[in-house]
């Protein structure tokens, strides 16, 4: 009896000792998170890859092996190629807007002024509001009949001018007043790009502010003593120092925009005539609504090269930022 108790306490002592060692404790603490992620991300990810090579249809978990048929079929579909092109347009155009907007806004918000708190509150609103709900607000702003955008343009007598401009730059050939923001292919592309830029901008501003805050005061002082001002300072001092963190903001923006489903789904459902489909919505329409699980998975997988690229770029710049 006593011997047993002694053995038990020696055992727990050894156990406690093992818990103190880094080599045991670190994997032990990390393992639950890794196992969980493996189960809910890793397994479905592998499954998605498998499904994309089969002719699985809705309701079944597997199908016959068809090789690359799903990929070639998807590629030959004109709608798919437009969805791919749209994904790239939305992502790149909205991030260009975000980059400019964030540079300006962060410059402004990094200073102290009265009422900064309320301005910051207004700026983070689009980021804090659930995407689906804020997109519904845009649906109302761009409504075909009650659009406040059109009403304002009409009151300012700018509506006919805008229609002329759209024709002149070959964006919309025969647009009419009132403008159907979401009912015409190119206008809808423009509107969706703007909504994406609008919802990513606050996030980018926040990251930019973090980047500015990380520049040591000495650099600021030194550049002032050296006489660097205005554009020169921006180009030679501020930009290089902020580059790594700005890139992180942009790369996140790219990922958030490229994989987004809600904005297009709510605003246009991919219409008119599939002209605003993006890869996530197209995968949804084919895979879930259309029931072609295999082809839906193949369409989703086309996003993967983009993500790998983003990942590699992130790793590369994160490491560079660490060195400096």
């Amino acid at each position: 009896m006593e011997a047993q108790a002694a053995r038990a306490s020696a055992g727990s002592g050894r156990w406690r000792h093992a818990l103190e060692s880094r080599r045991v404790l670190a994997p032990l603490l990390i393992a639950p998170a890794v196992v969980f992620i493996g189960l809910v991300v890793g397994v479905p990810f592998g499954w998605a890859i498998y499904l994309s090579f089969t002719d699985a249809i809705g309701g079944s978990l597997s199908g016959n092996w068809v090789g690359f048929d799903n990929f070639t079929n998807a590629w030959q579909d004109e709608n798919f190629r437009r969805a791919l092109r749209n994904t790239l347009i939305f992502t790149l155009a909205s991030q260009a807007i975000v980059l400019v907007g964030a540079a300006v806004l962060s410059n402004f918000l990094v200073r102290d002024f009265r009422g900064k708190w309320i301005v910051r509150f207004l700026v983070v609103l689009p980021w804090a509001a659930p995407v689906v709900l804020s997109t519904i607000t845009w649906l109302w702003l761009l409504d075909s009949l009650y659009s406040v955008a059109n009403w304002t343009l009409a009151q300012l007598h700018l509506d006919n001018g805008l229609v002329w401009l759209l024709g002149a730059v070959n964006l919309e050939e025969d647009a009419q007043v009132p403008l159907q923001w979401l009912g015409r292919p190119n206008l809808a592309l423009l509107a969706i790009t703007l909504v994406h830029a609008w919802r990513i901008l606050p996030f980018a501003v926040v990251i930019f502010i973090a980047g500015r805050a990380s520049i040591p005061n000495e650099v600021e002082d030194a550049s002032r003593i050296d006489g660097a001002t205005g554009v020169k300072k921006l180009w030679y001092v501020d930009l290089p120092l902020q580059l790594p963190i700005a890139l992180v903001a942009v790369l996140f923006g790219i990922v958030f925009t490229a994989v987004d489903f809600a904005v297009v789904y709510i605003l246009t459902r991919g219409g008119p005539f599939n002209s605003t489909q993006v890869l996530p919505t197209w995968a949804y329409f084919i895979g879930i609504d259309g029931g072609s699980l295999g082809e839906g998975a193949a369409i989703s997988l086309f996003l993967f090269p983009l993500l790998v690229f983003v990942t590699v770029a992130m790793l590369f710049f994160a490491r560079r930022a660490q060195v400096s």
């Binding site: 991300v41 301005v119 609103l125 709900l133 109302w140 009403w151 609008w198 699980l293 994160a318």
Partner: protein, 274 residues
């Protein structure tokens, strides 16, 4: 400043719209910015020309209160699971793992970049197999897949900002590592943990595609899935109620974001670059 106005404008407009009367809203001659009388005229006692009936409709005749409750429940459960798994992982990566901790941290975070749109096809089959379709449990099971990587990353950043000496002192005084974590690290990093709670919660509120595909009965929906499904019926839009439904979750979330923004920035950049 123009940027700030552009960013906030849709919300200002939602605020105006939610109290509009149907007649005022439906007349395209009337200014959409103001509350008008029947002829489209504006009076300074404008509140007499506005109505709260659509807000009342939202709360009394739709499942909106239920959706808010569901969202809170799912959010709370997911945040609890997230903290339970991400806190030890974040701590271990920041303090114990040494050299490979950095790359493992980056790897965990990269999981966040695999889009839900790629995973939702297999996951929806999985949910059907587990017989979780139409249940909030499906969301509680799946949502940590994107909150854990994010939370681990942020927490790793916060834990790194705590001086190592504090912990060493406790260890020398004979405390076990777990005790040192509970008594020293945890209280100091409470603001950081709260930040993670808020941002993980808001990721859950934001989620659309899983909530939309896994849940089909109205009572089980979250705010993000319920509103576009039930309040938009074909071409019939309940605009005033929709705008109220948008603003009600957005404002408290934005207040919380604003309050925790500085800490978020610290954790976000700290985890990645220090």
């Amino acid at each position: 400043m123009p940027f700030a106005i552009f960013l906030a404008f849709p919300f200002y407009f939602a605020l105006v719209t939610m109290f509009k009367t149907n007649l005022d809203l439906a007349n395209v001659e009337h200014s959409p910015y103001l509350y008008n009388d029947l002829e489209g005229g504006f009076h300074w006692d404008f509140w007499n020309y506005a109505t709260t009936e659509h807000v009342r409709f939202l709360f009394e005749d739709t499942n909106y209160p239920r959706w808010l409750l569901n969202t809170l429940l799912v959010g709370a459960a997911v945040v609890a699971i997230t903290l339970l798994l991400a806190m030890p992982a974040g701590y271990a990566l920041a303090r114990l793992a040494g050299g490979w901790g950095q790359s493992a941290g980056v790897a965990i975070f990269l999981v966040y970049l695999i889009p839900p749109t790629l995973l939702f096809l297999p996951l929806s089959r999985l949910i059907t197999q587990l017989d979780l379709k139409d249940s909030l449990w499906a969301l509680i099971l799946i949502y940590p897949s994107f909150t854990i990587p994010f939370a681990t990353w942020l927490l790793m950043g916060f834990f790194k900002t705590i001086p190592q000496e504090l912990e060493d002192a406790a260890l020398i005084d004979g405390a076990s590592r777990l005790k040192a974590f509970g008594l020293i690290i945890l209280p100091i990093s409470l603001p950081g943990i709260l930040t993670v709670v808020i941002f993980a919660f808001s990721l859950c509120v934001n989620e659309f595609i899983y909530a939309f595909t896994f849940i089909s009965s109205s009572e089980q929906r979250t705010v993000s899935a319920g509103i576009p499904n039930d309040l938009i019926r074909g071409d019939v839009f309940f605009w005033q109620s929709l705008m109220a439904a948008t603003l009600i979750p957005a404002i408290p979330l934005a207040l919380l974001y604003n309050a925790f923004l500085d800490r978020f920035i610290k954790g976000f950049t700290g985890g990645a670059f220090r």
